[in-house]
């Protein structure tokens, strides 16, 4: 198990190094932070002074090595736009994003998984078709369109909810619904497919033939076996908790990590972008590790295979 974990950690570190390098090259070659932050109307000498003060006038390789060395020492750098440590800026925004993404995740799981199970158990019936119709609609409508439609209905026409901002929990309702809808649709489809595959397996027929109640067949035999693909998808959703609401945060003016990322990329604010990417990579890696461990818990055969492989 230790060897397995250490292999995964080394892979994760290599991935993070690749992500950091890729982001550095793309960001530094595709725009000048001085022009973006100070605006093109700033005097040329101010733009030059800004470049010099941040070392943007030095060769790219030198910038890269300095930056990488600083990260290795645990210094993620300062925002060129804000002047404050990039880590502080990101950490400030994380609670706001989690305030959206965690309830949205609960919504996704709470609606998506039961809907998928319900559709599978009623295969080809009206209930199945209606569930899948809503699922396809929820999956295909872009979140910015859904968000704006919800605002038009609930804020502009009915006046029940605010159209944007983050002043109170009420402001979070529409963005959470917008975020939750697409995820619930995805989960419903995956759960349905997984359940249908499991329900067609011989052991389900055997369990039924033994005279077990259908409810027990579903709960004890079908659901645990259908859980693996669903857990994988939920794992991805957990991994995107930190920066998975970029569009929704922009539409609803929600001051989270997603908005910070958009502004930082637009301004080529390297330290902030890199810090967010590191956070995303870290949450993804943690989510993947957790999912891997859950696989073994859900399906003991995988655990045995892993131990045998390690031995």
């Amino acid at each position: 198990m230790l060897r397995y974990l250490s292999t995964r950690l080394v892979r994760a570190l290599l991935t993070i190094c690749f992500v950091v390098t890729f982001a550095f090259v793309i960001l530094r070659l595709s725009g000048d932070p001085a022009l973006l932050i100070l605006s093109p109307d700033a005097p040329p000498e101010a733009i030059e002074a800004f470049r010099k003060s941040w070392g943007l006038d030095r060769p790219l390789w030198e910038q890269y090595f300095h930056y990488f060395a600083a990260i290795a020492e645990g210094n993620l750098g300062r925002s060129m736009r804000d002047g404050r440590p990039a880590l502080d800026l990101v950490l400030e925004r994380v609670p706001a994003t989690l305030a959206l993404t965690i309830p949205a995740l609960i919504l996704k799981i709470g609606i998506g998984i039961p809907a998928g199970i319900y559709a599978a158990l009623n295969r080809n019936k009206l209930a199945d078709r209606l569930t899948m119709l809503f699922s396809v609609a929820g999956f295909t409508v872009p979140s910015f369109v859904l968000g704006l439609v919800l605002v038009l209905i609930f804020a502009v026409n009915l006046g029940w909810l605010p159209s944007g901002g983050s002043d109170s929990w009420v402001h979070g309702i529409l963005p959470i619904i917008t975020l939750g809808t697409a995820g619930a649709a995805v989960l419903a489809r995956f759960t349905r497919s997984a359940m249908l595959e499991v329900l067609g397996q011989p052991y389900i027929r055997t369990a039924s033939a033994k005279g077990l109640a259908w409810r027990r067949v579903v709960v004890d035999h079908a659901l645990p076996n259908a859980a693996i693909p669903t857990v994988t998808i939920v794992g991805f959703m957990v991994g995107s908790l930190v920066a998975g609401a970029v569009v929704v945060e922009s539409v609803f003016s929600w001051p989270g990590v997603g908005r910070l990322l958009v502004v930082a990329v637009a301004n080529r604010d390297l330290a902030v972008v890199q810090t967010i990417l590191l956070f995303v990579a870290l949450t993804m890696v943690c989510a993947n590790l957790t999912v891997d461990m859950l696989y073994g818990w859900i399906d003991p055969r995988l655990r045995t295979r892993r131990v045998a492989g390690a031995g």
């Binding site: 595709s30 725009g31 000048d32 022009l35 973006l36 932050i37 100070l38 605006s39 093109p40 109307d41 700033a42 005097p43 040329p44 000498e45 101010a46 733009i47 002074a49 800004f50 010099k52 003060s53 941040w54 070392g55 030095r58 030198e62 910038q63 300095h66 930056y67 600083a70 210094n75 750098g77 300062r78 060129m80 736009r81 804000d82 002047g83 404050r84 704006l148 605002v151 038009l152 804020a155 502009v156 006046g159 605010p162 159209s163 944007g164 901002g165 983050s166 922009s250 539409v251 609803f252 003016s253 001051p255 908005r259 910070l260 958009v262 502004v263 637009a266 080529r268 390297l270 330290a271």
Partner: protein
């Protein structure tokens, strides 16, 4: 004789307490001023409220509420110079202006504005920087982040604003003198421009770092900063000791709403009282709601096209002039702006007053002349790249598409290259041709625009796009000459060079900004990006 009993003592005590409490209660009750929320695309670009670092149009919108200059620009008329923190001013000589300060004007921290604050506002600690300041480090250090050292771009901006300021003298507590190194007729204009706002010396000194100061500055404007959450919101509160009288709004909250649709939805659902930066094609969306309207119009900013005369096809000025004559500017104004802006008289504004050339005009729309010029120049249809950002300016992409067709109609082969940011627009690694820009005039003289933007130190020449020897000589003369008729002639000649003889740019149209607002609010937009919320310009109509 009245007897003093336990009861009378208690009564007296209650009465005494009431005397202390009631007036405050009464004041609180009387403050029935409204609070408003303004949805903006962005509060500031550079994430500080220091005018010397925030050199953007969006920042201009709120600076007037927090800061003031010694001489103000009249936002209710055409930006004429009017008394601000100085009640009067006079010329001592060609290099010196003396100003009398307004007695009793106060900063938000309660201090009176004195000559000492004025001298400090233009001094090395706040504006020009101390010599020998340390340099920042690669991505990990910033000057001004944790110290009082100025970020290097601040002195650079200050030196551009005041290229030849020798010193400022405090003659007495209420009198200051600006002394320039060379004769300069624009000194009053520079005193009135953004970046020359007066700040509290004590507040700056008490701030822990430059960044702390720049996030919570102390000026003399009608509203004081309560809370600034970068990229999210800025809350201002009425400064009741404001010298022009009690502000009409209790609290102003600017909130960042990046999407236009979200700003409009927020306005018409009653969440916001103002929604800024409404593009012309969205005006009907606001106006179809009976309780809301669009306010706004022309501001002191022109949209232009800039030419890179190093491009082989653009070396011949006749090709550039042909491009200018091929543009039907009025059609762009009518089709894309619904006639809500206008074609100005070149790179100049009426508030230049005596320096304004009313008989000047941009090159007329004349396709036949354009074709003739191209024939004479021997243009063979070579590709001219046109670098365009995706609607950095209002209607930018659609204007570019219209221009391409207008140029195609006279035989010009111009190709749009969509770019993501200004670095890519200025990139010299591939051949540049044409690009978009806008120019403002921060004060009422052509030095503030044609010289600062197209002269030898202007952006166009600094990035190697265009230069002209005569223009450069004239720029120096315009900056230093005090002979007003001669200056007027020099400016005329500059317009001839830059817009006709050797076109460096061509003006397309004046910029207009539109703000959606509640109809019951009486508020007049300024002819600039600034928003004026003083008592003379804000009132809620009673139903």
């Amino acid at each position: 004789m009245t007897r003093i009993t336990r009861r009378t003592v208690l009564k007296a005590g209650v009465a005494a307490s009431a005397v202390g409490v009631l007036p405050r209660f009464a004041v609180a009750q009387a403050d029935d001023r409204p609070s408003i929320t303004i949805a903006v695309q962005q509060i500031v670009n550079a994430n500080t409220l220091e005018p010397l670092r925030e050199q953007s149009n969006v920042g201009t919108r709120l600076m007037t509420s927090v800061f003031e200059c010694l001489i103000e620009q009249d936002l209710q008329r055409e930006l004429q110079q009017i008394p601000g923190l100085a009640t009067e001013w006079k010329r001592i000589d060609d290099r010196t202006v003396e100003l009398s300060l307004r007695r009793g004007a106060k900063f938000h921290n309660g201090d009176e504005v004195t000559a000492d604050d004025v001298v400090f506002s233009f001094g090395p600690e706040r504006m020009f920087g101390k010599s020998g300041a340390p340099e920042g480090k690669l991505f990990t250090g910033i000057i001004g982040g944790e110290t009082k050292d100025l970020p290097p771009e601040v002195p650079a901006v200050a030196k551009r604003l005041w290229p030849a300021l020798e010193r400022i003298e405090a003659v007495d507590k209420y009198t200051v003198r600006f002394v320039n190194k060379q004769p300069d007729v624009t000194l009053e204009g520079r005193i009135a421009r953004g970046g020359s706002q007066i700040i509290s010396r004590r507040a700056f000194s008490e701030a822990k770092s430059w960044l702390d100061w720049a996030r919570n500055p102390v000026g003399t404007g009608p509203y004081r900063v309560v809370e600034f959450r970068p990229d999210t919101s800025l809350t201002l509160a009425a400064f009741d000791e404001y010298w022009q009288g009690r502000p009409p709004i209790k609290q102003i909250r600017f909130v960042v709403v990046p999407e236009v649709a979200s700003r409009i939805n927020g306005l018409v659902s009653g969440q916001y009282d103002f929604a800024c930066d409404i593009p012309p094609d969205q005006i009907p969306e606001v106006e179809k709601h009976a309780r809301y309207e669009i306010s706004g119009g022309l501001i002191g900013n022109h949209r232009l096209l800039c030419f890179d005369k190093a491009h082989p096809e653009l070396k011949d000025p006749r090709v550039r002039l042909a491009m200018c004559h091929a543009i039907d500017r009025q059609l762009i104004v009518d089709a894309l702006w619904a006639g809500r802006t206008r074609v100005p008289k070149g790179l100049q504004w009426e508030f230049y007053d005596q320096m304004f050339h009313a008989d000047w005009s941009v090159p007329a729309y004349d396709p036949n002349l354009a074709k003739k010029l191209l024939r004479e120049a021997g243009y063979k249809g070579g590709v001219i790249p046109y670098r365009v950002l995706n609607n950095y300016y209002t209607n930018q992409t659609s204007t570019a598409q219209v221009l391409i067709e207008m140029w195609r109609a006279v035989g010009l082969n111009v190709e749009i290259q969509m770019k993501e940011n200004w670095g890519q627009i200025f990139d010299r690694n591939s051949q540049r041709g044409v690009r978009d820009w806008s120019n403002s005039a921060p004060f009422n003289d052509p030095v503030s625009s044609i010289v600062n933007q197209h002269g030898p130190k202007g952006q166009q020449q600094q990035i190697g796009e265009w230069t002209n020897a005569e223009m450069n000589t004239l720029s120096v003369e315009l900056e230093t000459s005090t002979d007003r008729p001669r200056r007027r002639a020099v400016f005329r000649r500059m317009l001839e060079i830059c817009e006709r003889e050797d076109p460096g740019y061509t003006v397309l149209h004046q910029t207009a900004v539109f703000t959606g607002k509640r109809k019951d609010i009486e508020w007049k937009p300024a002819p600039s990006f600034a928003m004026d919320f003083r008592s003379r310009n804000f009132k809620i109509k009673r139903a």
